[in-house]
């Protein structure tokens, strides 16, 4: 079981479920609503089922942590982390910015990450110390973070808490958001964590800032793996995340007044 083999299998499985996702895009019925206005579509469940069962058949001793099915054998050496559809609301409403992300954790280190955007057919993947790649149609190329070093020349992708967040948190985030708009040339807000991180990893955005939108591990793990392999830093401070090239990260942390303590 080499890393290449694991990566190959993960890519194949994720590409396969991409077709399930494309079929239900914009018309998959909503099965139930979760807390915090989150929804679950039938495609979520189908994708999760397919990925977990094929992984279980290949690697019976691995553990799993998935959005709907929860944790299974989470104390195993290898644990797969799956988000069947990141951006379910976009998916249900027919916006093509959604992704399927799958990551593998060995003890506490992320060793593998695959993020697939079925509508643009871009597959971002990374394996520990093997670099990050994007497979885009017939092209397969290595990617790296942007080389921008100055915050005042950067395009920053931001995520902000929704109205469900605590008022204090929300107020802080709004203030910081305003400050960012004030001092950064371009601010974008895609609203999908994994894809934003991958776009950041390929230099599409210079940096990624999450001002506490309540993300969970399975939302971010694969994107984090891709970004780190592309030469970026991923800094999580309580519920806030700052990611991007190291020098921009430092500047952003200082700008936002966040420190690791």
């Amino acid at each position: 079981m080499t890393l290449d083999e694991l990566l190959g299998n993960a890519q194949r499985i994720v590409r396969d479920v991409g077709t399930i996702a494309r079929e239900g895009f914009g018309r998959s019925p909503i099965v139930r609503c979760k807390e915090g206005n989150d929804i679950v579509t039938r495609a979520d469940l189908e994708i999760e089922d397919y990925v977990l069962s094929s992984l279980r058949a290949l690697y019976p001793h691995h553990g799993f942590d998935s959005e709907e099915a929860g944790e299974q054998r989470a104390d195993a050496e290898y644990v797969w982390i799956l988000d069947p559809i990141d951006g379910t609301k976009y998916y249900a409403r027919g916006v093509p910015l959604y992704s399927i992300s799958l990551a593998l954790r060995k003890q506490e280190t992320l060793i593998l990450g695959v993020v697939y955007s079925p509508e643009t057919q871009q597959m971002f993947s990374a394996a520990l110390e093997k670099g990050a790649r994007v497979i885009d149609g017939a092209n397969d190329r290595e990617i790296e973070c942007s080389h921008t070093t100055q915050l005042d020349q950067a395009t920053v992708c931001v995520e902000i808490p929704s109205r469900d967040a605590l008022p204090g948190e929300r107020h802080w985030a709004m203030q910081k958001m305003r400050d960012l708009v004030d001092s950064v040339p371009r601010v974008r807000l895609l609203g999908v964590g994994a894809l934003s991180l991958c776009y950041c990893a390929m230099g599409g955005f210079d940096a990624y800032v999450n001002l506490g939108s309540g993300t969970r591990l399975y939302d971010m793990a694969a994107g984090q793996a891709v970004l780190q392999e592309a030469g970026g830093q991923f800094r999580q401070i309580r519920a806030k995340i700052v990611a991007g090239p190291p020098r921009l990260c430092e500047q952003l942390l200082e700008f936002l007044g966040l420190d690791e303590r």
């Binding site: 914009g26 019925p29 909503i30 609503c33 206005n37 929804i39 609301k89 976009y90 249900a92 409403r93 027919g94 916006v95 093509p96 910015l97 955007s117 509508e119 643009t120 871009q122 994007v134 885009d136 149609g137 017939a138 092209n139 190329r141 942007s146 395009t155 902000i160 929704s162 109205r163 469900d164 929300r170 107020h171 709004m174 203030q175 958001m177 305003r178 708009v181 004030d182 040339p185 371009r186 601010v187 974008r188 807000l189 895609l190 609203g191 776009y199 390929m202 230099g203 599409g204 955005f205």
Partner: protein
Amino acid sequence: MGRCDSIARRVMLGHIFDKLLGIISNKLRELLELVRRARPWPWDIWPPWQKCLVGLLVAVFALMLVYSARQIWDSRQSGTMLTAWDWAVFWLMFPALLSIGFLSWHFSVVARPRTAIEILRREMEVFEETACRELKLPKDHVYLRALVRGRRAVQEVAEFIATKWDRGRHTLSGTAAGAYTLPQNGRINLHLGMDILEMVASHLNAERPRYAIESDEPVSYPEPDDWAYKWIVDPIDGSRHVLRQLPVFTTAIALVDAQYRPYVSLVYAPTTGELFFAVRGHGAYMNDWQLLRAFREQCEKAVAKAKESWKVHVEFPNCDGHQHRGSEFDRQCRSLQNILQRIGRIRGFGVGSLGLAYAAKGAFEAYVTLPGTTRRVDVLAGALLVMESYGTAGSARMVRANGATDRAPPMDGVYVVGGKKEVVSCLMTDCEVESLFQGKEDLL
């Protein structure tokens, strides 16, 4: 020692063999994938006479092969010599095979462009017929002609982007040399944009009457003296994204009158293949004549309508347009903060026409722009989509910004607020967007 060597050699050879097998099987898999994806098959687009010709040749070849094999086998068995006739059949097999190969290649590769154009022409005819039926307009109606022209242009843009954008490979090298900035306002223009504009313009000008074409690219097209309509073309909305290989950009085309009110519009997102189009008073559609209104209503039914789940697309202000970063920018930031505090979820892709199209599709409840650099060119096409999709259930307003003047239309500051009625009114009054407007002049 020698024994060890030979074992080592055998193990090594085994390794090499495994590797080779792996490479070959990978290549085979790639080839199969390529064949699987080749649609339409060359065979499918051959006209019947070509199919007959090649089929006949294949049949003749097969007969000759069987005959020759039989004769050779017989002569071996009985020890007799082959006759001159047998030899002739045997040698004629090769030219037959060659001609099959040549004709297949010729029909699929050399003669193919013509057939591809024929397919395209047929598609456009179908589109035109459907348009007549769906929009209930006569074939020579101004709007219908405009829509068909726009659709043709979009089709070519799609093919162009598919080869030029090439999924990221050439973009950086191609456009890093090809990009240039307009010094006044920090906008990025791309040579790709110029190419697309020329392509679109040639389609829009393909029929009479010709209208003027306006865009923010530094080319001008001759303007007829007495024009009733005008094309507004944004060849690439989201140039920054193209430059950085983000697959979030569009081509937007709108037909407007002298007051810049849009009548026909098309918004096309090449990387995802989404096409949105609308005709004033006749509805907004996407892709293959899917009614946007129906899609949106379905979305609204499925997703909770609580105020907390409102999603609004905002164009964030940027400091490029404000050299002095004066009070205007401050006021915009204040408005933004108001919006952030009152609306549940905010999104901002930074591509106006796409934001508006998704608002029309029901993915966002409303769209609002706040930047100082928003121009009519960016928003007219999308605004018509929103108007047509929401109808009476929504409101779409384009208002001139404080301090903006009537002169120099491409750079006039306008604000668009469009979407569901209650959301728009919340944005305008509660979020104090209204204070940014000069009067209540409605430009749509």
